[in-house]
């Protein structure tokens, strides 16, 4: 099958270009990450990130035939019809909207900055008990679908609002994390958290485009989380 990969080496290239490779999968429905490993055996200069290879570390987010996802848990058959059969090339590009360091490796700095802005850690100024802080299963259930985020950036880099304002709009990933702490019964910094979100950009640039939801490899729903935060802001503001 044919693989077409976005290549850019700042030492030698002025502009990025697409490079074609021929890979023999022996008809097997391999994961995209396996294909990258095969290409790297041919061409050691190819750069991409990878770690757990099972979809929990979030290293290998990339754009595969137009759609963001994790290479390690995306089988060829799922990328696009015809790719596995070799009728169509597999097209691999870096996550959109972030500066490319090399090949498929993007500079995640802006993404992490936005994550840090939401103070992604539990805040509770009451003295800690000798045991755990009690939390009912119902209270705990409120952070299901939020804490599982792996910071792969697939969502934020598929979001047009984040493309246009990556420094001002927090993006779906950071907002999901913001709500993860707003929804945690053990956290009591709600007012402080909300007060940082009611400007026109941080949260309100979300227009319900839902690209984030459609690409999240963990099946999480930032759009809904953002909706919940908006409701909290509304209650607080009027």
């Amino acid at each position: 099958m044919k693989v077409s990969i976005y290549r850019y080496n700042p030492e030698t290239d002025r502009e990025p270009s697409m490079k074609e490779y021929e890979v023999d999968t022996q008809g097997k429905d391999l994961m995209v990450l396996d294909i990258l490993a095969l290409v790297k055996e041919q061409d050691q200069s190819l750069a991409y990130r990878r770690s757990c290879r099972e979809g929990v570390c979030g290293s290998d987010g990339m754009n595969m035939n137009g759609k963001n996802g994790l290479a390690c848990i995306t089988p060829l058959s799922q990328v696009a019809p015809g790719v596995l059969e070799g009728k169509k090339p597999l097209i691999l590009r870096p996550l959109p909207g972030l500066p490319v360091i090399r090949d498929l490796v993007v500079d995640m700095g802006m993404f992490y900055n936005q994550y840090e802005k939401v103070q992604p850690y539990l805040q509770n100024n009451t003295p800690a008990p000798a045991i755990e802080r009690l939390q009912s299963p119902e209270e705990r259930a409120k952070i299901d679908g939020l804490y599982e985020c792996i910071l792969c950036a697939c969502c934020s880099t598929s979001c047009p609002s984040f493309w246009w304002n990556p420094d001002k709009f927090l993006g779906p990933a950071a907002l999901l994390q913001s709500y993860r702490f707003l929804a945690d019964s053990r956290d009591n910094a709600t007012e402080e958290r909300l007060s940082k979100l009611d400007d026109p950009f941080s949260l309100f640039r979300c227009h319900g485009i839902m690209n984030c939801v459609s690409v999240c490899p963990k099946g999480l729903n930032p759009t809904r989380a953002i909706g919940h935060i908006r409701s909290m802001l509304l209650e607080r503001g009027i």
């Binding site: 976005y6 850019y8 700042p10 030492e11 290239d13 002025r14 502009e15 990025p16 754009n63 035939n65 137009g66 759609k67 097209i91 590009r93 870096p94 996550l95 959109p96 909207g97 972030l98 500066p99 490319v100 360091i101 993007v106 500079d107 598929s158 047009p160 493309w163 227009h207 319900g208 485009i209 839902m210 690209n211 939801v213 459609s214 099946g219 729903n221 759009t223 809904r224 909706g227 908006r230 409701s231």
Partner: protein, 124 residues
């Protein structure tokens, strides 16, 4: 060493789900309405100024080209309206799942298409 890092943001290489298409269309129609506002205001002006201008406007409206323009304006208005109603519904937390979002976006296209056709029929 090349200091200026490239950004991969060639929109033609990116696939957009139906929800994104619904959203960008909403925005495009919004801008279009803004551009059409003077036309609408002018028509309002003519319709109210005098019986003569009212008659002129009516006369003008019989031209197929003008009909087409009016229909186009109504079409973007209707799409923007229907998609806007979806937004308001989503604000209440309905249709925020992946499936719900997709269904909502498809419904917007179907409903607005039907309405646009109906309005077209009315104009002609």
């Amino acid at each position: 060493m090349n200091d200026k890092r490239p950004v991969n943001l060639d929109l033609s290489t990116i696939k957009f789900p139906v929800t994104a298409i619904a959203s960008i269309t909403h925005r495009v129609t919004g801008v279009a309405i803004f551009l059409a506002l003077p036309i609408l205001l002018w028509m309002l002006d003519r319709s109210l100024a005098s019986p003569e201008s009212f008659a002129d406007l009516k006369e003008l409206m019989t031209s197929p080209l003008v009909k087409l323009v009016v229909w186009a304006i109504l079409a973007v208005l209707l799409y923007h309206l229907v998609a806007g109603i979806r937004h308001l519904i989503m604000d209440t937390g309905v249709g925020e799942t992946l499936e719900g979002g997709r269904r909502g976006a498809k419904l917007v296209f179907i409903i607005s298409a039907v309405l646009i056709l109906l309005v077209g029929g009315w104009i002609w």
